[in-house]
């Protein structure tokens, strides 16, 4: 450790003192009337705005820091505020001070690779956020219609079953829904890891992972996985674990959206994952009930739909025209000089269902807001089909137009085949007397399902997916036993990667599979299949 020289210290202190002004400060105050359950009612603060941050300088928590809060309720004779710190540090009669600052956070490139709390403070012990930042409000109106563009660029998740059947485009909102323990977070994490390949291109996707109400250990684990896979460099984790107060869990997704908007409005691409919104809704319900707002269905407040719709509306593909983009509504002053068109914010909200019940209040709300959903099924998961995506009920309403050309071609028949296989599978369970064509269909279906299986943290680049699906499309896999599929996959991809590196790169950039290269792929596939069948 380097030595600290006393004269240096005094020089620094003198520098800071010189910038310290001795003017009187003017601010508005109020007095705490009652406090409890993370809520305080305050008398005074007559000019305070809804959503404004307030300080309680009299209160000191265990660390000696004063508690902050946010104004949520403006009533005739009192103001309802939610406390971000411990409410036991606040007493009746404490002074509440306005900050004239609508809840906001400092956002910049320095956030990448960091773990922060929903107010933008780093919590990973790596010191302050470095680099230039802009202060952006947590709540911002979504861009209007003229500033948007239809989704046209793909966002590759690296998962065969998603990229082929439920493609996601940049700027889309795709819900990941399923029971507990069905691999919802795994889908999200794989998607983040797969964005690594975009980092070398001119359109990198920056990722934000918002953890709401999760176990602290889970968040730490996710961070470790991302670090091990080299994905933390372009990812920010906004952590509001189960141990923090309800207001923190309520604003965490908005903090994630704010970071995403910074990239979106500066002409770059971002992906934000809200894991999960059902816990945010529960936090909001807690706040609303304590603030004595009337409860509605499942005791959620009336505006719980608006809570999620205004959050998810902020995901957008911005028009690729700097002049129009600069006119965008609700751009904070600080951000204005940096605004560029062509950026996007993709949102992957996660919702946890109870016993597969998608008709509960929050799931139906979010399903109707988003542009499609990826439905994960417990039964499939237990059958070993992972990712446990239920292809029948999962849809992507806008992603198709963003899909890579040759992938789109291949996926058309794939979807149909899978649907027919599922139907036949149900029948096949009862009788064994099946005609040849049905048996062939079942055989193909089994192999397709096996091919779509994929290990955790092993995203595949799109060109490899296309190559595999091409082989499947030709029906070559029927020559193999189901158990040999994974072996084939590994060997085939290795051989193709070695022999046709250039062609694969071309396929990745153009997205079109030429007939000649297609034939070459079939050739390799046949030789690999022969090899495998010969050895066994």
């Amino acid at each position: 450790m380097s030595q600290v020289r006393p004269d240096e210290v005094s020089a620094i202190l003198r520098k800071q003192l010189s910038g310290f002004d001795n003017e009187a400060d003017t601010y508005d105050v109020g007095t705490v009337l009652e406090v409890g359950d993370g809520i305080a009612r305050v008398y005074g603060l007559s000019k305070v705005q809804a959503g404004e941050l307030v300080e309680l300088p009299d209160s000191k928590d265990q660390k000696g820091k004063s508690v902050t809060g946010m104004v949520l309720n403006l009533e005739e004779d009192n103001v309802g505020i939610v406390l971000f710190g411990s409410s036991s540090a606040v007493e009746e009669g404490h002074t509440v001070k306005r900050t004239n600052d609508i809840a906001s956070m400092n956002v910049g490139e320095g956030l990448l690779g960091r773990v922060i709390d929903p107010l933008g403070n780093p919590i990973d012990g790596k010191g302050a956020i470095i680099g230039e930042t802009v202060r952006l409000p947590l709540e911002r109106k979504a861009p209007g219609v003229i500033y948007r563009e239809p989704v046209a660029e793909p966002l590759q998740t690296g998962l065969k079953s998603i990229d082929s059947l439920i493609p996601i485009g940049r700027g889309q909102r795709e819900l990941i829904i399923g029971d507990r323990q069905t691999g919802k977070t795994a889908v999200a994490i794989d998607t983040i890891i797969n964005q690594k390949e975009t980092q070398d291109t001119d359109k990198p996707v920056y990722c934000i992972y918002v953890a709401v109400g999760q176990k602290g250990s889970t968040v730490a684990n996710i961070r470790k996985v991302l670090e091990e896979n080299g994905a933390m460099e372009y990812t920010t984790i906004v952590a509001a674990p189960a141990s923090v107060s309800a207001p923190m869990r309520y604003i965490a997704p908005f903090a994630g959206a704010t970071i995403g908007e910074f990239f979106r409005d500066t002409g770059r691409h971002a992906l934000v994952i809200y894991d999960d919104l059902s816990k945010q809704a529960v936090a909001y319900r807690e706040l609303s009930l304590l603030l004595k707002r009337p409860p509605g269905r499942e005791a959620y407040p009336g505006d719980v739909f608006y809570l999620h719709s205004r959050l998810l509306e902020r995901a957008a593909k911005i028009i690729n025209d700097d002049k129009v983009a600069k006119e965008m509504n609700n751009i904070p002053e600080e951000l204005k000089p940096k605004v560029k068109g062509g950026g996007s914010l993709t949102a992957l909200p996660v919702i946890e269902t109870q016993a597969g019940d998608v008709s509960a209040y929050i799931p139906t709300n979010v399903i109707s807001i988003t542009d499609g959903q990826i439905f994960l099924d417990t039964d499939l998961f237990n059958q070993g089909i992972r990712p446990a995506i239920d292809v029948g009920t999962s849809v992507s309403r806008v992603g198709g137009s963003a899909q890579v050309k040759s992938m789109k071609k291949l996926s058309g028949t794939l979807k149909l085949d899978l649907a027919q296989y599922r139907e036949l599978e149900a029948f096949a369970k009862f009788g064994s007397d099946l005609d040849a064509s049905t048996q062939a269909q079942l055989r193909t279906g089994e192999r397709t399902v096996e091919l779509l299986k994929q290990g955790e943290y092993q995203p595949l680049p799109v060109e490899q997916q296309i190559a595999l699906l091409k082989v499947n499309d030709e029906g070559l896999l029927n020559k193999l036993e189901v158990t040999q599929i994974s072996e084939f996959e590994a060997q085939f991809l290795e051989t193709v990667g070695l022999k046709y590196e250039k062609e694969m790169d071309a396929l990745a950039s153009s997205g079109t599979l030429s007939d000649t290269f297609g034939e070459k792929l079939i050739e390799i596939a046949n030789s690999v299949i022969d090899q495998i069948t010969a050895t066994n």
Binding site: L13, L33, A128
Partner: protein
Amino acid sequence: MLVSKAARRYATALLELAKEQDVLERTLEDVLLIKGTIESSRDLLIFLRSPVIKPDKKVAALNAIFADEVSDLVHKYITLIARKNRQNMLDEIVTAFVDKYNEHAGIISAEVFVARELDDKQLAEVKQTLEKVTKKTVNLSTTVQKDLKGGMAVKIDDTVINATVKYKLEQLEDVFLSAAKE
């Protein structure tokens, strides 16, 4: 003090009526007398607020205390309040009335927080400056708080103008601490 909506309505009614009959100053004197009496006697406040004591007893007591002291208008007003069963709100009503009167007369009250007692000359100076800034008549009240260490803070309504040494030191601490973290 938190004043309920009903108390404000009763206070407004009295103010309007006093203005109409041109007895504003006399009414204010009477109200201040009631306010002073309630503030100095906690027993009276508890008595008025108690749900156990019957309303007609409260009316009788109020009459006995104030009937000879106050003007006809205020006397009638107290009787009205009693008849409407709002005696328990009397303290809030008189507070609301004083607020309303001050608003009407362009008087604002300012609270001065200092570390040491101010002498009359200093007080007059503070008052003059505040009146110049706010363009209203200022009612000063002083609170001495030793831990402010020096300087002065003024509170008008919800707004605080803070130039105390304590506040400045706290700010300096924040600046140093936030710089230390970086």
